[in-house]
């Protein structure tokens, strides 16, 4: 064990601190090519990551960039800069620290390229942009360390894949580069280590003391939770009481819309005028920064928030986390709980608020999973090829490259270690020509070979490529601001698809205020205050998470119990009633119920596959029913079941659920579906087939969707094996379509299908009738209804 350099040991002892064992371990192993630190929130993780850098820079002999710190959040980069500057200043270390994100000014960014600081704090996208410049080799030549913060979060998305490709590039520019990953507690640290390290380098894993178990319980409320729906507004009195009893409470919601509705009702009930704010990703940056500043200054008692506060920033005195709505995912729940009590070795305190009766069951299962340290997570497949396409284009921006060298480099990135040369060449060909069906367009012919090296056909294309760097393909957003005579200040943004449904005079909620849509001006929604008006609509179709496989299975096991003493009486009675009139779903069987209701035949399939896969199952089954002449009308899905309504009853569910038939449906019919088109759009944006930002012309999200839909249909007909179609089909196994979970469910069930025909709606199916988001089926039943409507109208008009 090396002695701690003097300025550090003095600094620690001056504060009465001692260095944590894991911080020590990172110093001792500073020479390792790759290291992964797993530590709970508040474990001094960031300092542990930076200590070796500070030690190496302490003598002031170093010039140029030494350490690159990468975080998934811009705000986190800025926050770390502030937090790191304190010890550096106090120890009198000659170290320059700067951050660089999309928010950094143009002049500052230019200066950073000419004269880089010792420590640069940035995001994956800003790093990719830096690497696209011709002077990247000079900037990064002396780089010694890279610290990837929140690597567990990055590893779950294409942002992480892109980052690892960037690290492979950095490693070529700076061969001695060492990597450190900082991660929250995860279910499979080995997978994160393989993801992070240069392939095939080893990557040691350092575990910090996980600290005491959290103090977590379900909130007991006066009113029983409602049968269906989200939001948990029935629990507002108890939530307010809990806020009153604590210093600072974070109230997490799963969607932005729910956060808005909850916040509004919370204020209506907030008779003491407790300072409570709202924070989510759709609010204007100014609004979010105000909340963050007030939080740091200790001026707030609670913040109603979404995943926007999942990561990073240390809020200091949070002593309670309330999760409203089922957590869907145990790992995320544990990480959210960790937001409470940032002091090491103090238990975090959390309360769960189920939004409806079903979620009571899910919350109970999640509580038990947290107690058992049973974290969930689905292993991610190899790095997707659309990200590789973007990487190739970005590489071409920085200068000509040899295909062999780039292939070697790419396969040194963990997610691409198994990439075949043929697949790499296909990506290169796509970047060069656009692929077979699109060869006719110059626009997509972007690379050419000159003197044995690949280069941009038109160097001006670099600008477009740089503008489209990144893998975050959120829905197109439209800014919302006060109308001019109200000052025109920005309020936030809403999805363009939502904005297009608004007509002037309609009201919606944003930032906790009811506003009235006045008009569209300069591509922003102008609104006026409309206090007291009932908001007609509040939709941001923010991410709807699916309940994880592990949590779903735990629920199924729980349903097998004789009785449920831990559940509230109303919920236990409900489950007992289901057992009496039908059955309870079981882990190794599939329950399917047929019953009439509201004059239509209904079929309910309890697949427990999460919302996305249940939705896909609904699409596939209604299509098969259409083929069989069963006249389906539509369906609705939740995380645990799909309810299909139609004109004719289904008598043979097993035949409907035949695996080959479902697969064929995925291949043919579902391929034409809007969900697949949206999946394709994301892939096409990442791979650079369509542009997010055309210089000089802002393309609206609707236009982008329009052209990507038509591109998709064209490729499907004329070039179904186009690279991006292959990637789209791979993506369909997870994400929005998630066919992978349908396959897993069929494996789990193994043909043991219990199809019950019942006289009326069953207790477990009843809440589905109250669910939003019913999907209509276009087919013979609709044609029949259309014909009936047409005939009726003709008869009424005396024209028949």
């Amino acid at each position: 064990m090396r002695a701690l350099p003097a300025p550090f040991s003095d600094w620690f002892s001056a504060r009465g601190w001692s260095i944590h064992p894991h911080q020590r371990a990172l110093l001792d192993r500073a020479a390792d090519p790759a290291l992964l630190l797993i530590a709970p929130t508040g474990g001094g993780k960031t300092l542990a990551g930076f200590l070796p850098t500070l030690a190496e820079l302490a003598d002031g002999a170093r010039k140029g960039l030494h350490t690159l710190y990468i975080s998934p959040l811009k705000a986190l980069a800025a926050d770390i800069r502030r937090n790191l500057t304190v010890p550096v200043t106090e120890m009198g270390l000659p170290i320059r620290i700067e951050d660089r994100t999309g928010d950094t000014s143009y002049t500052k960014r230019r200066r950073q390229r000419a004269d880089p600081p010792h420590i640069l704090l940035t995001t994956p996208e800003s790093l990719a942009l830096l690497l696209s410049y011709e002077d990247a080799p000079r900037i990064f030549a002396g780089l010694g360390r890279v610290i990837v913060d929140e690597v567990h979060a990055l590893a779950e998305s294409k942002r992480g894949d892109q980052l690892m490709l960037c690290l492979s590039r950095l490693q070529s520019l700076a061969p001695g580069l060492r990597r450190v990953g900082l991660s929250a507690t995860v279910e499979d640290p080995g997978a994160i280590a393989r993801f992070l390290a240069r392939h095939p380098d080893p990557c040691a894993i350092v575990h910090a003391d996980p600290g005491p178990d959290p103090d977590i319980a379900m909130l007991t409320t006066e009113a029983a939770p409602p049968w269906a729906g989200g939001g948990g507004r029935y629990a507002i009195p108890e939530v307010l009481a809990a806020i009153r009893r604590h210093r600072i409470t974070l109230v997490f919601h799963n969607t932005r819309a729910q956060a808005e509705l909850f916040f509004r009702d919370l204020w209506l009930a907030n008779e003491d005028g407790l300072p409570i704010a709202i924070h989510h990703g759709s609010l204007a940056r100014e609004a979010r920064e105000r909340v963050e500043a007030a939080m740091v200054a200790g001026e707030l008692r609670a913040v109603v928030c979404t995943g926007s506060l999942d990561l990073g920033i240390d809020w200091g005195d949070v002593d309670l986390v309330i999760q409203v709505g089922a957590p869907k995912n145990v790992k995320r729940l544990v990480q959210r709980i960790g937001r409470a009590n940032h002091r090491y070795n103090a238990p975090s305190k959390a309360l769960l608020v189920p939004a409806n009766r079903w979620e009571v069951v899910e919350c109970q299962a999640a509580l038990e999973a947290v107690k058992d340290h049973d974290l969930d997570g689905d292993p991610r497949g190899p790095g997707p090829r659309d990200v590789l396409c973007q990487h190739i284009l970005v590489a071409a921006c920085s200068g000509p490259f040899e295909a062999d060298a780039l292939y070697r480099e790419v396969t040194s990135a963990g997610p691409y270690a198994a990439l075949k040369r043929a697949d790499f060449d296909a990506c290169l060909d796509f970047c060069a020509t656009g692929g077979y069906a699109l060869k006719a367009y110059d626009r997509w012919q972007r690379l050419m070979v000159r003197d044995g090296r690949w280069t941009l056909r038109d160097p001006r294309a670099a600008r477009d490529i740089r503008m489209n760097i990144g893998t975050i393909t959120d829905a197109e957003m439209v800014k919302v601001r006060w109308q001019n005579r109200m000052g025109g200040a920005p309020l936030g943004e809403v999805e363009e698809s939502f904005a297009s449904t608004l007509t002037p005079g309609e009201t919606f909620l944003i930032g906790g205020q009811v506003v009235r849509f006045v008009g569209l001006r300069e591509l922003a929604l102008e609104v006026a205050p409309a206090p007291g008006r009932e908001p007609k609509i509040a939709v941001y179709s923010g991410t709807k998470f699916s309940t994880s496989t592990q949590l779903s299975e735990r629920i199924l096991r729980m349903l097998q119990a004789e009785s449920w003493p831990d559940l509230p009486a109303a919920t236990a009675e409900w489950l007992n009633l289901q057992r009496e009139v039908s059955r309870l779903p079981a882990p190794d069987r599939l329950l399917v119920e047929s019953f009439p209701a509201e004059g239509r035949a209904h079929l309910c399939i309890y697949g427990f596959m999460g919302r996305a896969a249940q939705q896909t199952l609904g699409l596939l089954l209604t299509h098969r029913m259409e083929e069989l002449g069963l006249n389906p009308l539509g369906f609705v899905s939740t995380d645990y079941a799909t309810l299909i309504r139609g004109l004719d009853p289904v008598t043979d569910a097993a035949a409907l659920l035949d695996r080959e038939g479902l697969r064929a449906g995925l291949g043919s019919w579902l391929a034409g579906n809007a969900v697949m088109k949206r999946t394709f759009r994301n892939v096409a944006l990442v791979a650079g087939l369509i542009a997010r930002n055309l210089p000089g012309a802002r393309k609206s999200g609707r236009q982008a969707t329009f052209s990507s839909d038509i591109l998709y249909d064209t490729l499907r007909r004329y070039d179904p094996d186009h690279l991006l179609m292959q990637v789209t089909r791979e993506e369909a196994m997870r994400g929005l379509v998630n066919f992978g979970r349908i396959e897993a469910m069929l494996d789990r069930v193994g043909g043991r299908i219990d199809h019950l025909t019942l006289p009326r709606v069953t207790p477990l199916a009843a809440p589905l009738f109250l669910e939003h988001g019913r999907v209509p089926v276009e087919g013979a039943a609709r044609e029949r209804l259309l014909a009936e409507t047409a005939e009726r109208l003709m008869a009424e008009a005396g024209l028949g």
């Binding site: 367009y441 393309k699 329009f706 052209s707 064209t714 004329y718 609709r782 259309l786 047409a790």
Partner: protein, 220 residues
């Protein structure tokens, strides 16, 4: 048969589910607003890049309709091409169109998108009178026995939006036949005024299906 047959100005004609109008006595097929070349026009304007296959798609449907009706005459009611530049069809499509035109009378009515003559053969007219019927691109107020296009009418019914014919005592307005075309709701006052009371909208799709034309104030 999935067509909707009706009497109009002393003739017996049919609305086909594809959006074409068939006049069996004259072995005549009428289509409107093909908007060929819309994708290229958008691409030229650096707008949304649509793949170039829609011309083939539209012509293939026309081919099928001509074959099914054994038409000896085809009238295109204007806006066949998105603009003059689009009318310079590349070789394979020009050949496809030439094959359709071969052996039958073909009349191009001028539209607002393709006013000038095009080098594709056939007759070019501002309007055409044939038997009792008068064919033009945009309906003229006060006209009678008139067949026109231009408005791309469509109608929502039972939650579904379809292109539709509008059939009244004085005129028939055809839906757009082209692949990438938007539309104007049949409840729009402009269309209501043109069609007058008692008009019928004929929905396209798998079956040409008549419904009463939505009047002002009633939405379909």
């Amino acid at each position: 048969m999935n067509r909707y047959a009706f009497s109009f100005a002393g003739t017996e004609i049919s609305a086909l589910p594809s959006g074409a109008l068939h006049w069996p006595a004259e072995a005549c097929l009428v289509v409107s607003d093909l908007h060929l070349g819309r994708s290229e026009r958008y691409a030229r304007r650096a707008g949304a890049l649509l793949p170039p296959y829609e011309v083939e798609e539209t012509l293939a449907r026309l081919d099928a309709d001509i074959a099914a009706t054994a038409a000896r005459m085809v009238i295109c009611l204007g806006d066949t091409f998105d603009d003059l530049q689009a009318a310079e069809l590349p070789e394979p499509r020009a050949l496809l169109l030439a094959r359709l035109m071969a052996g039958r009378r073909w009349v191009w009515i001028e539209g607002n998108h393709d006013p000038g003559p095009v080098g594709l053969g056939g007759e070019h007219r501002a309007e055409l009178a044939l038997g009792p019927l008068r064919f033009r691109h945009i309906a003229a107020p006060g006209a009678r026995a008139e067949i026109s296009g231009h408005y791309h009418p469509k109608l929502r019914l039972a939650g579904q939006s379809r292109r539709c014919f509008l059939v009244g005592g004085a005129r028939v307005i055809l839906p757009a036949y082209g692949t990438y075309t938007g539309g104007l709701g049949a409840e729009d006052p402009v269309l209501c005024d043109l069609m007058g009371a008692g008009a019928v909208a004929v929905l396209t799709g798998t079956v040409a299906r008549p419904v009463p034309m939505p009047g002002k104030g009633r939405r379909g």
